[in-house]
């Protein structure tokens, strides 16, 4: 079974400060990891993904995330937060079991990011 945990329901950060939104995962095989953002009354938008290779991946809107296998984490980061980054952020994992080819995609419960002017 695969699962995702986002331990913080809400993160508040001042505009211009760095931000981190935390995500940890649990899989049986190798993880494929994704971050999505949901603005109010909007659908989910894909931000970035980790499949393999460099542990630091860069995505849309200046966001990046760091894959840490030993800590089973995939935290979302941005060096300087903008008020317009205020939204709901979801981490998701796909467990690619060898030979199974499962495309199941499991989401965390979401973290509300508020960037304060």
């Amino acid at each position: 079974a695969q699962s995702v945990a986002q331990p913080e329901d809400q993160v508040n950060v001042a505009e211009g400060n760095p931000l981190t939104v935390k995500c940890t995962y649990s899989v049986s095989g190798n993880p494929y990891l994704f971050w999505y953002v949901q603005y109010p009354n909007r659908g989910l938008q894909f931000l970035l993904k980790y499949i393999t290779g460099d542990n630091l991946v860069k995505g849309s809107y200046g966001f990046e995330a760091e894959f840490n296998k030993s800590q089973t984490s995939f935290h979302l980061k941005k060096p300087s937060a903008l008020v317009s980054d205020s939204a709901l952020y979801f981490c998701a994992v796909r467990d690619i079991l060898s030979g199974a080819g499962s495309y199941q995609l499991t989401f965390g419960k979401g973290t509300k990011l508020s960037v304060i002017p």
């Binding site: 494929y32 909007r42 659908g43 989910l44 894909f46 495309y103 995609l105 419960k109």
Partner: protein, 113 residues
């Protein structure tokens, strides 16, 4: 189409009525997912289709919920005898492959009165 299309965008129905929600995935995407999102909450997995394989129905909350997909095309999610607790946004997503992200539609906001 250019993206995942869901219809209707809004649906208000009376308790006890059946509703059918439609999802048009991105052309060529073999995987299709349905999720439910209650107000201010996270995504609750409902069902997922992968090509011609048997769908993963493990997330359907009751036997009032069912979904179909013909090949790699349109999917419909049917809720029978709707209850007030079914009120939520129902999101559909499609994906090209295991390393590809899932792309979401705008959702159908279902209100049961």
């Amino acid at each position: 189409g250019a993206g995942v299309s869901q219809s209707p965008s809004n649906k208000v129905t009376e308790k006890g009525k059946d509703v059918e929600l439609r999802c048009d995935p991105i052309s060529g995407h073999t995987a299709l997912y349905w999720y439910r999102q209650r107000l201010g909450q996270g995504l609750e997995f409902l069902i997922y289709f992968q090509g011609n394989s048997a769908p993963d129905k493990s997330g359907l909350p009751s036997d009032r919920f069912s979904a179909e997909r013909t090949g790699e095309s349109v999917s419909t999610l049917t809720i029978q005898r709707t209850q007030q607790e079914d009120s939520a946004v129902y999101l559909c997503a499609s994906s090209l492959g295991p390393t590809a992200p899932a792309f979401f539609g705008q959702g159908t906001r279902l209100t049961v009165v």
